[in-house]
């Protein structure tokens, strides 16, 4: 029962956080709501028996990305103040796009549930909390096994990102605005 309550709490946190992060006017609040959402997703990972993923979510996302994001809101001239509104047409378009995206996503989900050949719609042995070690181990095996290539590529990806991010910051810290 508690588990069910936790589950719905996570769901609620995720959904509310996401909607809030997408809509609230105050950017700082939006970032905080994103944190809420991400935490909710981390919880859901636990329910999916993906404890490693949940950890990663908490560490990388909530720890890293969110902090970066919050920090970056300081760039903004209107961190807390009255945010200037988006043009109406763009807001309508955004809503339409979002609605259509939801439609597409929902339809795909529906098809998946109805037609997917090897998909179980419900968990076979409900109730138990995930075995952390086994899941993580499997991931590790996979990464040094048949997923070695993606793993290596991801390493290069992080290198590239690091080089890129650092040098951009370096280059722009040195120069001010050159073209008015």
């Amino acid at each position: 029962m508690i588990e069910l309550g936790l589950f719905w709490t996570c769901c609620l946190a995720t959904v509310a956080g996401a909607l809030g992060a997408a809509t609230v006017r105050n950017l700082f609040h939006a970032a905080l709501l994103l944190g809420l959402c991400l935490a909710g997703v981390a919880g859901l990972y636990l329910f999916l028996e993906a404890s490693y993923l949940a950890c990663l979510q908490v560490i990388v996302y909530i720890g890293g990305i969110l902090v970066l994001t919050l920090f970056a809101t300081l760039f903004s001239s209107d961190i807390m103040g009255a945010v200037q509104r988006t043009p109406l047409l763009l807001r309508i378009a955004g809503l339409a796009a979002s609605a259509l995206a939801a439609l597409v996503a929902g339809r795909l989900a529906q098809i998946a549930i109805a037609h997917a050949a090897n998909l179980g719609q419900t968990r076979s042995q409900p109730g138990t909390l995930p075995d952390v070690i086994d899941g993580t181990q499997a991931i590790g095996d996979l990464l040094v096994g048949s997923w070695l290539i993606p793993f290596l590529v991801a390493g290069m990806l992080l290198t590239a990102a690091l080089v890129g991010a650092v040098s951009i910051v370096k280059r722009y810290r040195r120069h001010g605005a050159s073209r008015a």
Binding site: T86, L90, A93, A97, L100, A101, V104
Partner: protein, 679 residues
């Protein structure tokens, strides 16, 4: 036997003269050279005439294909028959004497050296028309004749328009109210002459095409040769062509060719170029615009007489009749001495067409040709005399101011008097003979056919009546009476001896005895009871017309000149109408020159490229104007502008907003997915 080189030599002698004189830098030498060659040419032509005319034979000279067009060929070749041979002699003879005369006439003119080669070129072209052995070659010569006329009318190309010419304004007659002075200059007259001739030539080409279509359909290899054309009319025609019966096709062809004749022979409604053509040297006019070129139309129709259908003939007759009266009426009120002659030429040519319109059966062809030949000589003489007068009287051409010149210029007076007697058809003069033949043919035809066929005859009679009047008036106002303007005429004298000799040489040809019977024999005029009867009647009528017309003119202009004023007042509408040239020049200027020419030209130019402002602003210097899209080019640019508009509305989506970019992409993508795949 006729030597095979003879016709060719006659034909190319003038061309040789033209080329040689082109290389001669001195005017007198050039004239002499040209005259010598043309004299030789005259001799050859006379030889040919002697060989051809008495026996009434036809001679086919060398013939070569010029264009081989698959199913048929268009060739060049020479051909001589009596009418052609006589015409050749007349052309060559007149050319020779005019060249001699001109060497006096243009003495001292800086441009004189150009005259012989342009003139000889014209003679060459004229001889092509005369000696060609097929209709196509005739057309070639026809067009080249137009070129000769063009060159010679514009001989003094640098002369300003009459409205800006001080000399003209000083000397002009007061009667020519219909003349558009701002358009009256050699440069304009040559253009007008050429273009109006081209109007006729367009018809000629259509006629040529119709003959060709008929001939090709009939399977002729050389469809435009004279003999083949004759065969066409004799039943060689295809049954139907383009939904036209053979006869209809032939009528169209004949009328088309007649259009060419209308243009070249200055018949109504294309007659207005000829008076303007008097802007050229009088010597050139004497042969081109009086004696030969304008007669080419008559010659051509006579040549095609065997082919002519009755329908075509009646159109020819009516056109001639109308022209005859119309031009005569105008000539009556002209005060420019050359203009009178010009309109009289038009009128006489109309008379010839009346004869041709009467048809071969009624003797019309021979009558028309006879009048053509006699007219050629006396009209040339008249022009040369007119030239002498103009030359003698400080370029004055005004019948108001001339007068009493018979004492100062006796030779000229006598010669022109003889020519006037000839043209009015006085007995014992050549015109009497030929005009009688014309009226006889028209009368016979009218009696035969009846009804509307009387029209040409009556018009011709009226024209003849007026002719007698205005020609007598012309002579009286120049040579009779007393001097009116001493300053103009007191230096007057006859031309130099060799020019006077030319006048005297031509004078005998006004005499009937040089022509009469041998000419009608040579031309194979029909001699039947009906013809004799018609001749008898026509002679009576002609004599009556002559007496009335000439007598009236003599009374009015020599004796009671106030009567003329009274008469003019009494017949004011007619007088004004004729003075205004019946408004035809003004109408043409309005409808064709300013309307269909410049006006439609400007309009189409606007419809094509747009206004001048648009052209000035094409690089984007000036803003785009909506009205310019009306033009074709503007429309094309509108397509470009539309592309630009589409592009701009497309570009408006690329407005730099990342959010919008994603929204659009998501919406479009989702719609494609939803509509194409998911449902």
């Amino acid at each position: 036997m006729i030597p095979t080189w003879l016709t060719t030599a006659i034909l190319f002698a003038p061309l040789a003269a033209a080329v040689l004189t082109l290389l001669v830098p001195r005017a007198n030498l050039a004239h002499g050279l040209a005259a010598t060659i043309m004299a030789g040419c005259t001799a050859l032509a006379a030889w040919l005439a002697i060989l051809v005319v008495p026996h009434g034979v036809t001679y086919q000279g060398p013939h070569i294909p010029w264009l081989d067009l698959g199913g048929f060929t268009l060739g060049l070749g020479t051909f001589a028959d009596p009418m052609g041979a006589i015409m050749a002699v007349i052309v060559a003879l007149l050319a020779t004497v005019v060249l001699i005369y001109n060497s006096w006439y243009m003495n001292g003119d800086k441009l004189a050296v150009r005259f012989p080669w342009q003139f000889c070129l014209f003679v060459f072209a004229m001889l092509i028309v005369v000696l060609s052995d097929n209709l196509f070659m005739t057309f070639l010569g026809w067009e080249l004749v137009g070129l000769g006329s063009y060159l010679l009318i514009g001989f003094w190309f640098a002369k300003p328009a009459a409205s800006e010419d001080a000399d003209y304004q000083r000397l002009k007659g007061v009667g020519a109210r219909g003349v558009l002075e701002h358009r009256l200059s050699p440069a304009h007259a040559q253009l007008k002459a050429f273009v109006m001739n081209r109007v006729g030539d367009a018809g000629f080409l259509i006629g040529l095409g119709a003959f060709l279509a008929a001939g090709v359909a009939g399977g002729f290899r050389e469809p435009l040769g004279w003999s083949n054309l004759t065969q066409l009319s004799l039943g060689g025609l295809p049954g139907t062509f383009l939904g036209l019966s053979g006869n209809e096709l032939l009528t169209i062809a004949c009328l088309g060719v007649f259009c060419g004749a209308i243009g070249k022979s200055a018949q109504f409604p294309l007659h207005t170029w000829l008076p303007d053509a008097m802007q050229g040297p009088t010597t050139a006019s004497s042969i081109i615009h009086a004696a030969t070129m304008v007669a080419a139309g008559v010659f051509l129709i006579a040549r095609l007489a065997p082919v002519m259908t009755p329908e075509a003939l009646s159109v020819i007759g009516w056109t001639g009749g109308i022209t005859c009266l119309l031009a005569a009426s105008i000539a009556c009120v002209q005060w420019d001495l050359k203009a009178v002659l010009a309109y009289s030429t038009v009128s006489q040519l109309g008379l010839m067409f009346v004869a041709l319109g009467a048809g071969d059966g009624a003797g019309g062809t021979t009558a028309g040709l006879s009048h053509l030949f006699t007219h050629a000589l006396f009209k040339c003489l008249l022009f040369l005399c007119a030239g002498a007068v103009i030359h003698a009287c400080a370029n004055s051409q005004d019948l108001h101011r001339l007068g009493g010149l018979r004492k100062r210029m006796p030779i000229t007076a006598v010669c022109s008097g003889l020519a006037v007697l000839a043209i009015i058809g006085a007995p014992f003069f050549s015109g009497f003979f030929s005009k009688d033949a014309v009226l006889a043919a028209a009368l016979l035809h009218a009696e035969d056919v009846g009804g509307a066929a009387w029209g040409p005859f009556l018009l011709a009679c009226a024209g003849s009546l007026l002719t007698a009047g205005y020609m007598v008036r012309w002579w009286i106002r120049i040579f009779a009476g007393t001097e009116r303007d001493h300053t103009l005429t007191h230096h007057a004298h006859d031309p130099a001896w060799y020019a006077s000799a030319v006048l005297l040489l031509l004078a005998p040809f006004t005499c009937v005895f040089l022509w009469s019977t041998w000419l009608s024999d040579a031309l194979a005029a029909p001699h039947t009871e009906a013809h004799a009867h018609a001749h008898h009647n026509a002679m009576l009528i002609a004599s009556g017309l002559l007496v009335v017309g000439a007598g009236f003119a003599a009374v009015v202009f020599a004796w009671k000149s106030e009567l003329a004023t009274t008469l003019a007042r009494a017949l004011k509408p007619l007088h004004v109408g004729a003075s205004e040239l019946w408004g035809i020049d003004r109408l043409y200027d309005l409808v064709f020159v300013r309307g269909l020419g410049a006006g439609v030209g400007r309009l189409t130019a606007f419809l094509d490229l747009g206004s001048r402002d648009r052209l000035a602003s094409l690089e984007g210097a000036a803003p785009y104007r909506r009205s310019d899209s009306l033009s074709l080019d503007g429309l094309i640019d509108s397509i470009g502008r539309l592309c630009g508009r589409i592009g701009e509305s497309g570009a408006a989506w690329h407005d730099g907003r990342v959010g919008a970019y994603l929204a659009i992409a998501a919406i479009l993508g989702a719609l494609v997915l939803l509509m194409g795949v998911l449902w």
